[in-house]
């Protein structure tokens, strides 16, 4: 199929007919045969996930919107190259993240030191962390911490822990090996944990 510039299909018409009942494999096959409505149905099913991931990783909302639109267009133009070795959602999310960080990825990755505080007393967050973790205050503190993380760690934590991708899927989306991904994930989690010490020191859990 042609990969020349085509407009990504969208709108109610794309979801009409029996497409809603079609399985993902069938939709992908039809989209690869040039069925824009089938691609529209696929995009509709996965755009919510793509939007969440991009908005959580990006600090600039306009950048996230641009990346999302570019990703859908790029996916439509390249659906013929999708080899089904991963789920469609994994493939689409990878395209979105590549769009989002096409410039940042060229830069030297930032690193965070593994703050494991060996030799220092680790703060006790209190006996009621199970109640705290669901609180809006705690979640807001986590979101603030996420925004401070370098992008390579932020995307690892968001994909694995927030969005629930498996390690294998998340590593494929980011485009690194599982070992490298797990290292980023651990450093990202540890850095967030360290930042949350202050939240509990300020006496949230009494």
């Amino acid at each position: 199929m042609s990969t020349a510039t085509r407009r990504a299909p969208h709108g109610p018409a794309a979801r009409a007919g029996n497409l809603a009942a079609a399985g993902e494999d069938e939709l992908v096959r039809r989209a690869q045969d040039g069925d824009s409505a089938a691609f529209g149905e696929l995009a509709g099913r996965h755009s919510s996930l793509l939007r969440r991931v991009l908005f959580r990783i990006a600090k600039d909302c306009e950048q996230a919107w641009d990346a999302m639109q570019e990703a859908l267009l790029r996916a439509w133009n390249n659906i013929g190259r999708f080899e089904r070795r991963s789920k469609f959602s994994t493939w689409l999310t990878r395209i979105g993240i590549n769009e989002l960080y096409s410039e940042l990825r060229r830069a030297r990755p930032e690193t965070v030191e593994l703050d494991d505080s060996v030799g220092e007393r680790v703060p006790d967050w209190g006996a009621r962390t199970d109640r705290a973790v669901e609180s809006q205050e705690f979640l807001a503190a986590i979101e603030r911490g996420l925004e401070q993380l370098p992008v390579h760690y932020r995307e690892a934590v968001i994909l694995r822990d927030v969005e629930g991708f498996s390690t294998r899927e998340a590593a494929a989306i980011v485009g690194v090996g599982e070992r490298s991904f797990k290292s980023r994930l651990h450093r990202g989690r540890m850095s967030l944990r360290s930042g949350l010490d202050q939240f509990f020191e300020e006496g949230y859990v009494r």
């Binding site: 809006q136 927030v162 989690r189 540890m190």
Partner: protein
């Protein structure tokens, strides 16, 4: 490995903490060196608890706890 007990202890703490995510994700069990270390090292046990709470908070975020305020704009 250091012969000094304190240095050796810190080496063990460092190794255990580097593997905490694998332990929390279930890839390393209680019979491993990390699991055994956590049984008797209260400092590392606190760190494991805190890290676990951090991951639980991230998962809660994914269940719809919050979204960025400007997302709908």
């Amino acid at each position: 490995m250091s012969l000094n007990p304190l240095s050796r202890h810190r080496e063990n703490c460092g190794e255990a903490r580097a593997a905490l995510s694998d332990y929390l994700d279930g890839e390393l069990g209680p019979e491993t060196s990390v699991g055994r270390h956590l049984q008797w090292c209260p400092n590392c046990r606190r760190m494991a608890r805190n890290l676990s709470a951090t991951v639980e908070g991230l998962e809660a975020l994914g269940r719809g706890g919050r979204s960025r305020p400007s997302e709908s704009g």
